[in-house]
């Protein structure tokens, strides 16, 4: 998935290796304690469960790449859930229109955060802390006296997490992804070759393609054993892929990394730093709002507590566990997928073992701590290395 080690800004020196090892370790441990852990049904449910927080994580990653933090995403997800339910149920809007409105509210909230942060110079930490409280307040206000509003269990909203694709669709998507990957790499390596730059030999390209296709095919095969590839997971992965392409292949993405690396250098290079900051906060809150829609879809309801629980912490933790640095400028969109899978697997495994939430929090905290320590150590390594030759 993450490709061409030499051609992009890297997440960290260790890359994705520790997360993948951790994920395999988690799988082995839980499977040995309960053989239903790796069953197609459990894995399929896991992919649907991680979609909502996964979308929020994808947004958090953008903000972390800037070297900032967004503490409001849980509240924004809750606000979006509230807007969705109030409009769709109380005001009888069509469900798609309500989803659109909920996401638009997210975008506006994010732009507001970005504006206050970038233009008024208030630290993002404080702006979004106010957002954390304030949007939760608006959410409660919108819900009125109702503790929760039930949405239809058969409409468009519910469909988001209840749709599964027939097996052939899954296989088609695998072929499409692998084909596009291979094609794009071949084109790039061909151009590098004719430009006289170092290029990867065909054997390496094919090997990388194989390395990509194995988990994709394996995943689809397992999901097809149950109900097929879930739409919710596909939406999540779709956003991760699109965001990854935006970050690595577009000018906008390069600007985001540049601002995260050194905002002063970015400013002097003529980049509109304020605009990048505002847009990133806009994207983060939009994705959080989408996460809120997914939460409603899965519970058939928006309640006063939607988005007010562990969602914020889990989303930030997933981003860091997935390998995105808290110090800005380093990381990639796939951290959302990897980190989300790690946290989802832990949650699902402990539920199967009928462990208490308390245990889940403690274990999640330990995993998060390990990830942050790895991040800090690799950062310090880079610093000393950088000064070594000076």
């Amino acid at each position: 998935m993450a490709q061409g080690p030499a051609t992009q800004p890297q997440g960290g020196e260790l890359g994705a290796a520790p997360v993948i090892v951790g994920l395999l370790l988690i799988a082995v441990v839980f499977q040995s304690m309960n053989d239903r852990f790796l069953s197609p049904q459990n894995l399929s449910n896991l992919t649907v469960q991680i979609a909502a927080i996964g979308l929020m994580t994808t947004g958090v990653i953008m903000v972390l790449l800037l070297g900032e933090i967004d503490l409001s995403i849980g509240s924004v997800a809750g606000l979006s859930a509230g807007v969705l339910a109030v409009l769709a149920v109380r005001h009888g809007w069509s469900e798609w229109a309500a989803v659109g409105a909920a996401v638009a509210v997210g975008l506006l909230v994010g732009l507001l955060h970005g504006f206050v942060f970038a233009k008024m110079g208030v630290p993002a930490f404080v702006v979004t802390l106010a957002g954390l409280l304030g949007w939760q307040g608006v959410h409660l206000y919108l819900m009125g006296g109702d503790g929760s509003i039930n949405t239809s269990s058969s409409g468009a909203i519910a469909m988001l997490t209840q749709t599964y694709f027939v097996p052939v669709v899954g296989w088609f998507l695998v072929l499409l992804a692998v084909g596009l990957y291979l094609l794009s790499v071949l084109v790039v390596e061909g151009r590098r070759r004719s430009a006289g730059l170092p290029y990867k030999p065909l054997a390496e390209v094919l090997f990388r393609t194989l390395l990509l296709s194995l988990p994709l095919a394996g995943g689809v095969w397992v999901l097809n054993q149950y109900k097929g590839v879930p739409l919710a997971f596909l939406i999540f992965v779709g956003f991760v892929v699109v965001l990854d392409l935006v970050l690595r292949k577009t000018r906008y993405g390069r600007m985001v990394y540049a601002v995260g690396g050194s905002s002063e250098a970015a400013r002097r290079a003529g980049i509109n730093v304020d605009l990048i900051r505002i847009s990133v906060f806009g994207i983060a809150s939009t994705l959080a709002a989408l996460g809120g829609v997914m939460l409603v879809s899965r519970n058939f309801a928006a309640s006063v507590s939607t988005g007010g629980g562990a969602e914020l912490m889990m989303a930030i933790a997933a981003a860091v566990i997935g390998g995105t640095s808290l110090f800005g400028g380093r990381g990639n969109a796939y951290s959302a997928l990897l980190g989300g899978l790690v946290l989802g697997a832990i949650t699902s495994g402990l539920l199967l073992l009928q462990m208490d939430t308390s245990v889940r929090f403690m274990i999640t905290a330990a995993v998060l701590l390990i990830a942050v320590v790895l991040d800090a150590v690799s950062r310090r390594g880079r610093r000393t290395h950088a000064r070594g030759g000076a």
Binding site: V188, R251, A269, R383, A390
Partner: protein, 234 residues
């Protein structure tokens, strides 16, 4: 090649910032470009005129690779908005070759480079805009002996390619090594414009400090040594 000299606080960096468009000019002054007055209100204006500036702190993004830094804010695109990495890398190799700079891997983050290499990348980056004048603010201030020589070599190569070079420096040895003219600023005013070849070290110091009677000259008379001895103290 012009060297801009002056004591701390003499206004060297401010002058550079004004010319680069990073700092608004107060009033009264005019910038003449090819004999005509121009207004430089923003960094983009200066770039359009062909003035490239390399600041003391280099303004590189540590997390981006060399190619990414060279083309930052000036990326080559194939479709609107999408980066053409192959073209950028090809141009980067070409550019660094033309400067006789050898860095084996252009895809490592600049955080991993030495101070001299970082300075060279910062200078190379300014050349992508096809400037006619390059301003360097203290390019050798933080460098070791060998790296300073490397950077001075590069600066001489710029001059040989026909670029105007403005070198801001504290280091008289550097200035005498590469510059043709020295302009001295003192307390924000022009305190003299000297051809390096026919000006003594003491005359320049006198202009910098504003008097022929100053700690530096007093010291050299007292010790009875020539300029070289004092120069070593620098």
């Amino acid at each position: 090649m012009v060297a801009l000299l002056g004591d701390n606080g003499a206004g060297k960096s401010t002058l550079v910032k004004v010319i680069a468009g990073a700092h608004p000019a107060d009033s009264g002054g005019t910038v003449l470009w090819d004999g005509t007055p121009v207004t430089i209100g923003a960094p983009a204006d200066a770039q359009r005129l062909g003035i490239a500036t390399i600041y003391q702190d280099l303004a590189l993004c540590d997390n981006l690779d060399i190619v990414g830094n060279l083309f930052l804010g000036n990326e080559r695109l194939h479709f609107p908005g999408t980066l053409d990495e192959v073209e950028m890398e090809r141009r980067a190799v070409e550019l660094l070759d033309s400067l006789s700079v050898s860095i084996p891997d252009l895809r490592i983050p600049v955080a991993a480079l030495s101070g001299g290499q970082r300075q060279i990348i910062a200078i190379a980056r300014s050349l992508l805009g096809q400037p006619r004048v390059v301003m360097l603010d203290e390019p050798t201030a933080a460098l070791g002996v060998a790296q300073t020589a490397q950077v001075l070599d590069l600066i001489e190569r710029l001059r040989d390619q026909g670029l105007g070079v403005v070198l801001i420096s504290h280091n008289m040895a550097d200035v005498r090594a590469v510059a043709d003219r020295a302009v001295v600023l003192r307390l924000g005013r022009n305190a003299g414009d000297f051809p390096i070849a026919s000006t003594s070290y003491e005359e320049i110091v006198a202009a910098i400090t504003g008097a022929s009677d100053n700690p530096v000259t007093r010291r050299s008379t007292r010790t009875g040594s020539s300029a070289t001895a004092t120069k070593d103290k620098e």
